[in-house]
Symmetry: C2
């Protein structure tokens, strides 16, 4: 009898910028473990970044994250808005990277509102600078939720106010997504 190898899930999100980044990564990995997945976090990287320029260090982290993504079967992204009405751009990049590899994409957000409802409308569906506000009944730019839907994945949201302490860290939606993946695979 051969054990089926556990599917590897890339844990993407602005979680890496949290003061308790390691703790959150571990909590996510535990949830994955209970459901018989391996959670893979950019916080797992063991890099010595003390040599070379800051740019070289950034490039090294990039290359390590690419290796981690290549080793994973699917991605679960924290798409909670980050420093503006949209999600973290590094995480958006990672969704695109996994989409091109035809891997299933999953995401969650702790801001349940549609994108249209997060950007100030100065009239006619345009922002104060006159730029069009997307309005497709999606929670962010259509390339993101479009990609998730097209990959056969799922996107879950709940509404936590952004001033709440657990806005970035609440894992209720993350747990739901992992449960859904268990049922699908």
């Amino acid at each position: 009898m051969t054990a089926t190898p556990r599917k590897r899930i890339y844990l993407a999100g602005p979680d890496v910028f949290l003061p308790n980044a390691i703790e959150i990564a571990k909590a996510k990995q535990e949830i994955c473990f209970w459901r018989e997945f391996t959670g893979v976090s950019p916080s797992d990287n063991q890099l010595s970044l003390d040599k070379g320029s800051p740019f070289a260090a950034g490039l090294l982290i990039y290359e390590q994250n690419i290796k981690l993504m290549n080793s994973c079967d699917l991605i679960v992204a924290n798409m909670t808005p980050f420093r503006g009405p949209s999600m973290d751009v590094g995480t958006a990049f990672e969704l695109g990277y996994m989409a091109a590899q035809s891997k299933p994409l999953f995401g969650y957000s702790n801001d349940g509102r549609f994108y249209t409802d997060r950007v100030i409308d100065s009239g006619g569906g345009r922002d104060p600078e006159g730029l069009t506000i997307e309005s497709f009944g999606m929670h962010d730019n259509l390339m993101l939720e479009g990609a998730i839907s097209s990959s056969g994945g799922f996107f879950k949201t709940q509404r936590i106010a952004s001033m709440e302490k657990h806005y970035y860290t609440d894992l209720t939606m993350f747990e739901e997504i992992i449960k859904i993946i268990t049922e699908l695979m």
Copy 2:
């Protein structure tokens, strides 16, 4: 004698949200044409979106953009900050998508500052919410400039104040990038 087919460049950016999106796309395509490239813009999509839900329309646009990207040899992204300190998330997704296909990535920004200098530092390299501010001598999240550098591409910036009318539309950096690509290919 067989003519070499022109390389196809995917023109990514928040340009699609500009009031004069079509005009800007045409201006970029002309610059590409002079240098013997074909500029491919999401604005070229001829879709009938009047049937179905807004979500279905968004999904259709997603699928068309994916087809356009698959048909292109490289990408040039407008990475000027959009509604916050970072670039447009749809464009970030597209950079990730092209990176996974091992295509060369190029980008430009009309905001020449490093990311660190665009986010308010409340002390210790953290923002007012206590989240770490990346500091790698890069202009945005390391996944973006890391990907460009790693692909052998180039990133060019100039500094235009965001209140200036030509913040999103100035094509000086775009022209420089196209010139660089001409020299490389």
